[in-house]
Amino acid sequence: MDLALSPEHEAFRRKVRAWLKANLPKREPDDAVRGYRDPQRVSRLKAWQRTLYEGGFVAMGWPAQYGGRGAGVMEQTIVNQELVLARAPQQIGMMGVQMVGPTLIQFGTDEQRQRYLPRILSADEIWCQGYSEPGAGSDLASLKTQAELVGDEFIVNGQKVWTSNAQIADWMFCLVRTDPTAPKHRGISYLLIDMKTPGITVRPLIQMTGDAGFNEVFFDNVRVPRRNLVGELNQGWQVANATLAHERNMLGSTTRTQQMFNGLLQLAQGHQRYGKPASADPVMRQKLAGLMIRVEAMQYHSLRQLTDALRGRPPGIAASINKLVSTELNHEIAALALEVMGNYGPLARSAARAIDRGVWPYEFMFTLGLVIGGGTSQIQKNIISERGLGMPREERGLRG
């Protein structure tokens, strides 16, 4: 057991840090208030990803022939960590890089790879994920958006929901039902849909934060060429799952959690609560220390999983636990921040006396969305107990 980085990796980290220092875009003062579809915001974020890509830091793990560097897990982890530490802008093309890109590498045709991969990397084309529907959330496999194969085209009808980025996306990777008679997991296909196709309507949905962070997408006789099918017909569920298993950059997210906690601690030290610094109150200290322990446990937990990945060991139950624990932890950090602030807590960012530009109530709301999205905590507990502990699956639709 040795926590030190090798000299090569240390040198790499220094190089990344220096590159970021030289290339990070200046923070625009009005960044926080621009809407999701604001064209200036979008073009700035695309430009950032392009810069990052030209620096060699996007899709590092992709094979070189597809525009990656064939880099190892350690290098990618270092880059992810440094991006978080530098508070770099988000990567607007993340769906493409992390989801549809690897899917095409694994299941796509050469034609599809040539057509889509380069523009994913440069952020020339932005992707959104068409999975959830109003009737298919946790039970995703029950999705109903139909794609009827007529000659050389699919005719798509239906609706997707919670579609982040749909309002600015150029393309959607979409799960559709191509065989309504088959058992639900076996009648699904994975389609690539041009968002400019006639018949597609995108309607923003406003989150409780006030942002139109995601959308409904309606399909009315949308024609999609057959060549946009990824993998075999009716094999879409397997295609989607193979890349859902793609590990999230864990160390990036625990670094972000650590950052949030550091911010909370600073807040508690600086803010007077009932006449003294919040961090001097014994009960607050207990709560802060309790969170610190959980945050740091997740840091070492992700190092343990990183080590497993470096040793080529398959992710075990430890990996299933990440999403459940991290998302709830982030929400609790934000919740404690509001507790620290008392009546200042709920002040919105527009309030003159808002603390930290109102970031904490925003995070408090936003982090709850992350607890729900990507598989609710309850679904995660089902997965952990069933796949991790081998507990029996619940019989579906019990009657009597």
């Binding site: 190092l303 507990k381 619940e394």
Partner: protein, 377 residues
């Protein structure tokens, strides 16, 4: 960067687990629980032969010279099997006290014997105040020529009744850290009386040790006069991590028992483990245990390799695992339903040990405050 176990460590884990599964089944724990002495001597001898008692003792003193992380991995297995007897008292507390605080003559005199299992040791620290700070050592050691006269009561001294040697903390001067002296004395020293303090944890034997004008020669001072607190402070961190390791093993076994039960117990026509309420409790248990494991590894690693972070890491691990073990055993008993509440079912051994571990060497509340101070909140 490698945050994992070596092949040797994996082997140690596996062989310890196998050995204890066969040599310390729950039936032995139950048998020893009834016994007044609570000391399974045959098992202890076997563990000595395996080199477990001297795992971290330098090989010049007859030990294996392994790391604290290695010991932590072993302790986890002992906790998993809720092994009764003086392993913690002797191989951890007394051994570390002598390693950290003894003169080389004292180390030479005692470490080989402790490592071989020829002698059993323990530590007498706490008093009626149950305080862990220097003020908690109030019992006086008065100088009388070159000798000392010790008076007072020590509480919660595990295994004093079977110890050949006791490491005892007394106040030789002043009120603070400076003025605590550690003494090495045989159990049968005149003036020493030992009374059991029965605990609900049937796997441990805490004692009250009374010192009535006990006379000890200068040679009985462990290390140097008035300088004992430093040894206690370093020992404290290691003991906290050692108990955290015991707690991790115990929590994991409790979870395992609960999940195994839930897979076979049927109600309403199906295994109770198929109900979400039960499944979700199990998921929560493992979601606390696995990150705790990672944190424990770091704490052990810090004790070995990052001394400036050892105290903070020890407090994090002890706080975390104090709660995790108790929380896990509580839920495990509930998953078992009525049967989990019986004497006949084994789970109560873990449930009760969790409670001993929770408070020994600082509970979660104590360690969270210590963490707040060390992290300069």
């Amino acid at each position: 960067m490698d945050f994992g176990l070596s092949d040797d460590q994996l082997l140690l884990q596996r062989s310890a687990a196998e050995f204890l599964a066969s040599e310390c089944p729950a039936s032995l724990v139950r048998e020893v629980a009834r016994d007044e002495e609570g000391f399974p001597r045959g098992l202890y001898r076997h563990m000595a032969e395996l080199g477990w008692l001297g795992l971290i003792v330098p090989d010049t003193y007859g030990g294996a010279g392994l790391s604290f992380l290695d010991l932590v991995l072993l302790l986890e297995q002992l906790g998993r099997a809720v092994v009764p007897g003086p392993f913690f008292s002797s191989a951890v507390l007394a051994t570390l006290a002598i390693m950290l605080g003894g003169t080389s003559a004292q180390r030479q005199a005692w470490l080989p014997r402790l490592a071989a299992g020829d002698a059993v040791g323990t530590l007498a620290w706490l008093e009626a105040s149950d305080r862990l700070d220097p003020a908690g050592v109030a019992a006086r050691a008065r100088k009388s020529g070159k000798a000392y006269r010790l008076s007072g009561q020590k509480l919660f001294v595990t295994d004093a009744h079977v110890a050949d040697v006791i490491v005892a903390a007394f106040r030789s001067a002043g009120r603070g850290e400076e003025g605590v002296t550690l003494f090495l004395l045989p159990r049968d020293t005149p003036g020493v009386t030992i009374k059991p303090l029965p605990s609900i944890d049937l796997t441990r034997r805490p004692m009250e040790v009374r010192f009535e004008d006990v006379e000890l020669p200068a040679a009985a001072v462990l290390g140097a006069e008035h300088k004992g607190w430093k040894t206690l402070a370093r020992l404290f961190d290691a003991a906290a991590v050692a108990l955290a390791a015991d707690s991790l093993g115990g929590a994991e076994r409790a979870l395992e028992l609960a999940v195994d039960y839930a897979k076979v117990r049927e109600q309403f026509g199906r295994a109770i483990g198929s109900f979400q309420a039960v499944k979700h409790i199990a998921a929560e248990m493992v979601s606390e245990i696995e990150p705790a494991r990672s944190l424990l590894w770091y704490a052990a690693y810090a004790c070995d390799s990052v001394p400036r972070d050892a105290a903070r890491a020890a407090s994090m691990a002890k706080a975390c695992l104090s709660d995790v073990y108790s929380h896990t055993t509580n839920r495990a008993v509930q998953i078992h339903g009525g049967i989990g509440f019986t004497w006949e079912h084994d789970l109560h051994f873990w449930f009760k040990r969790a409670k001993w571990n929770e408070f020994a060497f600082g509970d979660a509340t104590y360690h969270r405050e210590r963490l707040a101070q060390l992290a300069k909140f």
